[in-house]
Every structure is written in C-alpha cells, then in structure tokens.
C-alpha cells in the first residue's frame, strides 16, 4: 500500500556564502564575539514552510509554482533527499526518483557499461541487468553505438540512453521533474508510450511542471506553491482514468490522433536531430525509417 505524507514539514536551508564555510571565520567570530566575523552570520532560507500533504494510492499530484517557489525542494523532500528540519516525513512503498535521469551516466564508459552501472545504482542485481540489457538496448535504438564511449554521443543520443535506462525500473511512487520526453519525433512517440506505462504502473505520481496543460492532462490533484507555502491544493482535471486509458492502449501509439497530439513538454527536448554521425550509420538506419 503506497503512501507518502508530509506533516507540518519545514525545510530551512543554511546558505553558506563563499566565506561562511571557512573554519577561520567561525573561530574568529566565536573568539571576537561576532565583531569581525560578521560574514559568518549564516543566511537561512525558509524553502518550505508548513507543508501538509498526504498522498495515497491513485493520487496523481501536479506541482506548480513560479521559479524559486520551492518545487524542486518539495520534490526532493518527497523523495526523501531532504529530511524536514521540522515536521514529519513518512513513506510506504518503493520509490523511484526520475528527478535526474542522467544520474550515474559516465562519459568515458560505453553505452553497455553505462546500462550496467546505472542498473546497479537503481538497485538491480547483475542477473536482472543481464536480462534487461537487450531490452534497454533495443528500446534506445542506439545499435552499435552502445559499444562506443558515451562522450561521442550527441545530446539526443545521450538522452535516449538515459531515458531507456531510467524508465526500466517500476516503483509504487514515481517522482518526476517535468515530463520526460526525449529524442526525435519517432523516439518521442515511443518514449511517451513508455513513460505512460511507468506512470500507470506507479500507485502515486508526483510531477512538477510549469505547464498547466500538462498537469491538467496527467494529474488529478494540483498543488500550487508560492514562497515555500502551499497556496492552493485542489482536485483537478477530467476523469483521471480517461487520459491514461486512451494512450495506454497499444493502438493509440500508431493512430494518427496520438501522433498529432501536442508534445506537452518543452523542457527536456534539446531540439534534437536523429543521431546521424557518418561512420556507423547502417546500424541506426532502420530506426528513423521505421516511424518517420
């Protein structure tokens, strides 16, 4: 039974300026009673204040707010990265954080080595990784490039790899910073389907986004943050089951309707062209041709 809750949670960050982390200043300040070491005065940011949030199975929470409102902090707090300085955090069920899909990707390593490394970071056993590798490789569509060091990849190829690895793992609670959607047109369609499966498999979704449209489409509850406080917490959207059901059916991916659906996300698409460095072209050819 998945659940996630914050009770009266506050996050107060100390921000150490360039000087405040220095021991000398702290000592000088202590010795002189704060006369000289005035820079030591540690600024505290009240990143989140009095957050009360309880999520149960079936909840699809969208988080909105202006830049600096505390969205990322709230995501990290919900992921268990920041322990609340006041209040309580409780979690039941497994959690997968897609806050940083590139986590663990190592530039000098080949694609296959990265699959192994990231797999282990996600808590997979070597056997599971061996079983999953062909599937991940196939999905990424990178073919022979997987034997090349990742530093030779274009941004788009890198995102394809990271995405393919990151979405292999299922969990009860899924946390995302913006909708993950990567690659060129054909890959984006595939990845939309894939992320949809992951989201559907999760009991709880937490999604931070700037796009109201996206949140209305994907979520059934909206929390709006301003200056570290929840200013709005309301149920939203059409029937929450309508959208996923339509897109989850395999036919939808191929149907023209799905293809013309606006890509909801701007953030994670670095305007990518299909990977087309000249050398190992044949391995990649079927990919763009298949869907184009």
């Amino acid at each position: 039974m998945a659940s996630l809750s914050l009770t009266n949670a506050c996050i107060d960050y100390p921000v150490f300026g360039a000087h405040a982390t220095s021991l000398k200043r702290t000592v000088v300040a202590a010795v002189t009673g704060g006369m000289i070491g005035r820079e030591t005065g540690v600024t505290t940011i009240h990143a989140l204040q009095d957050i009360n949030l309880t999520l149960r199975k079936g909840d699809r929470l969208g988080i909105m707010g202006h830049n600096g409102a505390g969205k990322t902090t709230l995501l990290r707090t919900l992921a268990g990265v920041y322990p609340p300085t006041k209040g309580r955090y409780r979690r039941q069920g497994s959690l997968s954080s897609l806050i940083d899909p590139m986590l663990g990707v190592e530039m000098e390593f080949s694609g296959y080595e990265n699959i192994r490394l990231c797999g282990i970071l996600k808590g997979l056993t070597p056997q599971e990784i061996t079983t999953l590798t062909p599937e991940i490789a196939e999905f990424s569509g990178l073919g022979e490039y997987l034997d090349m060091p990742v530093r030779t990849y274009s941004t788009g190829m890198l995102m394809r790899l990271a995405f393919s690895i990151a979405t292999t793992v299922r969990a009860d609670i899924l946390i995302m910073d913006e909708w993950l959607s990567v690659g060129d047109a054909s890959f984006r369609q595939k990845s939309e389907q894939r992320i949809r499966d992951v989201v559907d498999a999760a009991g709880i979704l937490v999604l931070a986004s700037q796009s109201r449209h996206l949140i209305e489409k994907e979520c059934n509850r909206l929390v709006e943050l301003a200056h570290g406080r929840i200013v709005k917490d309301e149920p939203i959207g059409p029937a929450p089951d309508a959208a996923p059901a339509a897109a989850a059916s395999p036919a939808a991916a191929a149907s023209p309707v799905a293809a013309t659906q606006p890509a909801p996300v701007q953030k994670l698409q670095p305007g990518v062209e299909p990977p087309s460095p000249p050398k190992i072209q044949p391995a990649l050819e079927p990919q763009p041709a298949g869907r184009g």
Binding site: T21, V81, E108, R170, A171
Partner: protein, 268 residues
Amino acid sequence: MPVADRYISPSAWGDWWQGTCQVRLWWTLASKDIVDRYRRSMLGPLWLTVSVAAMLAAMGPLYSQLFNVPLGKFFPNLALGIILWGFINTTLIEAANTFVAASTFLKSSPFPLSMFIWRTLARNVITLAHQLIVYVPVALFCSIPISPIQLLAIPGLLMLFVCLHVMSISVAVVCTRFRDVAQVLTTCMQMVIFVTPVLWMPSSVPARAKLLLYLNPFFHMIDVVRAPLQGLFPQRYSWPGLILWTAACAILAMVLFSRSRRQVIYWL
C-alpha cells in the same frame, strides 16, 4: 519487472548499516573510479604499480646510504612504509571530499551516506592492492624469510581498514561543513610523514624520543602491517595503541555522524 527502492534510514546506525550492506554498489563505484582514471592508457591501473616501483627504485639504494642502514633491512621497511603511508594519506584526503564529490547522487535519491565513505576506502584499497605487489620483488631481493608471522599482517590490514573507515566518517562530515579543514588536513599529513617512521627506521629513534612512536597513531597503523610482512612482530604497544585510537575515532564518528547526518545534504 525490477522495482526501485530507496529506504530512508530512521537512525544513524540504520544509515551506516544500509550503506555498508550495499557492497555491490560501493564496490562498483570504486572500481569504476579506478577504471575511469586509467581509461585509454596502455597499462591501465598497472600504472599504480609502476609509479610506486620507480619511486622505490630511486629512493631505496640512495636513502639506505644516507641513513647508513644496510639495504637488506632498509629497503623492505621503506617500501612498505611508502606504500602504506600513501594508502593512509590518500584515503584521508579523499575522505574530505567524499560527500561533495557524491553530491549529484545525494541530491537526487536518498542514498545512505556511509556508502560513499566505503566507496572512497574501497577505491584506495584497490590502489593498495596494486602497489603491494611491488613488495614481492623487494622482499625476494632482500631475502625476507617466509614465516607464519606474516599471516599477522591480515588482521593488521583489517584493523587498519576499520580505523580508516571511522576516521573517514569524521573527516568527511567536518570537511563538508568547513571547507578549509581539508587544507588543514593536507598540511598536517605533510607534517606527520616526517615525524613518523615512514622513510626512516623505527629503530633509529633515540630512547628519549620514543614518545614519538608510542603516541603516534599513524605509526601504529603502519606498524601492525609492516612489521609482520617483514617477518617481525609489531611493537608491543602498536596493537593496543591502534585499538584505542580506533575506539576514540569511532566515538567521535558516532557523535558527529548522528548529530549532523541529516544536515550534510544541506551543506553540499
């Protein structure tokens, strides 16, 4: 379908234990660090072996003349001294940077902190293993007899690892909060190498300066491994000294870790 889980430890012990249990994770990261450092070089991690061998070949014969000690006694002492000192020194200095280096990990998922302490230690243990190979030709050259005493080096090494682990915890926590402690540490370690019998023989300390050995935890750390490998018993105060020092560091580590474990993430 594999399932992700990151369990959030309720206590400092829980964090420590979970991180410790993630052997596969920290070992993979540690060996990745080594492989990464030597990628695209012909010899790979064997460079570790070669570089220490070159240094010893240059220093051994010369310094045995300078200190006026027969090469057969001096060389094994110097070789092990330099290798073990390098291990201790690098582990502690890298421990200072452990959490900062792992900040991308720590900021995106609640990994146990102790995992990264183990990673730094494991990385240096791998280096040590590559460098200890150099001792074999040195021991053969100086015809060190093989005896059961050498087995004592195994508990010695294990104790050294434990000691460095608990020291690393304190160093890592303090250095994440106060960034210039890392510099203080580097400076201190440069001093310590000269007052510790790393380059010179413990036997050349005059009686009036024996306190330099009795009260020097770094000498104990080296001695419990170095003496047995040379077929000698460690000084009788080395083991008790090391155990006391480790216990003291463990208490300090527990206090620091349980008090500031939750704040570390905010200091990154």
